[in-house]
Symmetry: D3
Subunit: 132 residues, 6 copies
């Protein structure tokens, strides 16, 4: 049962937000809407959030690659919020820009041109996160 260790993040959400305005606004909106969900205190939603959290821990597959996998499937399923989230998480775990681009390429080829509008928005975020 190797799926259970918290990963070590190289950057906090705050540091990510200082590097990228797109990231900052995404994190802020997500946090505001999530506080609303937490207040509702729905039993199954909380369990799902918990399950979700456990999925991306260090395990047989390093957390960085799991976040990149989350990116691939999010881009394949065309969910901008999910794409933003996993790009940020991958960045926080030390993924390089070429790694992020290769992950997005898997989604592009598997998911087709319908992924391109999401790829464009993803690159806007990558540009900010990986600028010097």
């Amino acid at each position: 049962m190797p799926e259970r260790k918290e990963p070590t993040y190289l950057f906090s959400d705050k540091q990510v937000g200082e590097k990228s305005e797109i990231a900052r606004r995404f994190i802020e909106t997500r946090s505001r809407l999530n506080s609303n969900v937490e207040k509702a205190d729905n039993f199954l939603v909380k369990r799902f959030y918990n399950l979700d959290h456990n999925t991306y821990l260090e395990g047989a597959i390093p957390a960085k690659y799991k976040e990149l996998m989350g990116l691939v499937v999010s881009a394949g399923l065309r969910c901008d919020d999910c794409i933003h989230y996993h790009i940020i998480q991958s960045y926080r775990l030390g993924a390089t820009r070429p790694e992020q681009e290769e992950a997005i390429n898997v989604a592009l080829v598997v998911g087709g041109s319908i992924v391109i509008p999401h790829l464009r928005r993803a690159y806007a975020l990558l540009e900010e996160l990986y600028s010097a």
Copy 2:
């Protein structure tokens, strides 16, 4: 431009087919239907196949993880043929069973219970491939 080196496979398609009857039948059907597509010699299809091939080469991300990413997005998009293909490719590149299961878990949590029927069929293949 790191995305361009052919990966080294630990097993041939033939060896995979000897290990698993499900894999053997999948490879055979796929090969038979593909020969039909090749005969048609459609310019764009050939270019797409070529692009597809290039996506999974060794690069910034090791080929094994790219195949596992292909597995995650295939399971998230619920394509049994694609799932079978990427499980076999990951196996040929040395992915362990826990790695395959963790990849499928990302798809399960991202894609939901609708993924479960595909997970069941994926586990039948894993069972054969990773049996002693």
Copy 3:
């Protein structure tokens, strides 16, 4: 042939808009864009709208549960406009907040974490509609 009686709404669109700013803006935008569609007077579109209307009438299944079903499938297919629409319709038919949350939970478990961004926005609307 039980599918043919108009349901009785507890609240008008106007009342819903007074309770929730999110609902008010949604109803307004939808109405403005729809007037454009109506002007075009496309035969098949009109028939589809009519068919759509007939689907949610009182029948073997009470209209309230049909609207909640519309909510579940809309959330599973990840369509924010459709989610907003069916939350409002369910509210107008007397659905309680726990009923709305349980319906969304079915979509969350069936559709996976990719549903979460939509769930967050749905809860923002629920919060306004069901506030004291």
Copy 4:
């Protein structure tokens, strides 16, 4: 927190299988493949199965309607196994054939003609389950 009471089934899986050959084969295959998944004993899969189970218990919404909701979203997402499963569960909880058909109609109108091949297979199952 109303989502927690096991529903009372009017029929066992065995009785369903005696009524419908399609159902019998579905239940058998599903059970065989699931035993394989259970053997793997994957922590996250088990938690997901558990969460899934909790979603359809008696709560603010009666279990019968939740199963019909599961049917609607399964048909909307076009998953034959899931459709079969929820038709059987709804049947076991006393759903009538008109209720099943109305639920499928919601999926048909929301999901479009792409749902029709699944509707056809669903009706074959309904025909067997609700025959005199």
Copy 5:
């Protein structure tokens, strides 16, 4: 209101079935399952079938191109039955094999490699239909 004239088919279903075994089996199964749906005589299903029929009539866009459009969206949404149906309808309206392949290419590029398993099966049908 130009959408209302029945197209002229070059071949009957029977002739298609004599040319292709895959087509023959598809038409037979579809017809058998449909007779079951017709027997149920569901009001909304009948109206949906009628609407569906009206969508592909001769109009501003010739029926042949509409059937090819049906093929593109069916392949993009990955529905084998729908793909088979629209390939056969396009064939009956005189579409050439290059036209069918180009239509499938639009779906391949828009929908990505996930379309490939369906493309393979589509080519098996094309091979039979367009053989000398």
Copy 6:
């Protein structure tokens, strides 16, 4: 190999932007985000863009109908950016408004009511493009 001739556009992007404010803003945003993608100079992305371009050239099927096919599958897969893009391209190739509406109708019937919010936004663009 008929798929290779550039189509002749009746209108430039600039002319389209002067006719429709919605189109102008779409073209501008797309262009700005694309310049970012081009700067990244990713090998596979460039090849995909190239393949995408080749898909819609004059061939066995006239370019106008291919763009309308792109519209149908984009609407069926519910991608607003893609819908806008193909409506504009079809317009530039001389598609009439009834042709655009019939193409959208195929997507509506195949994809269901979930397509309606996208249809509404598409009609807003059509209204501007085809106004006197």
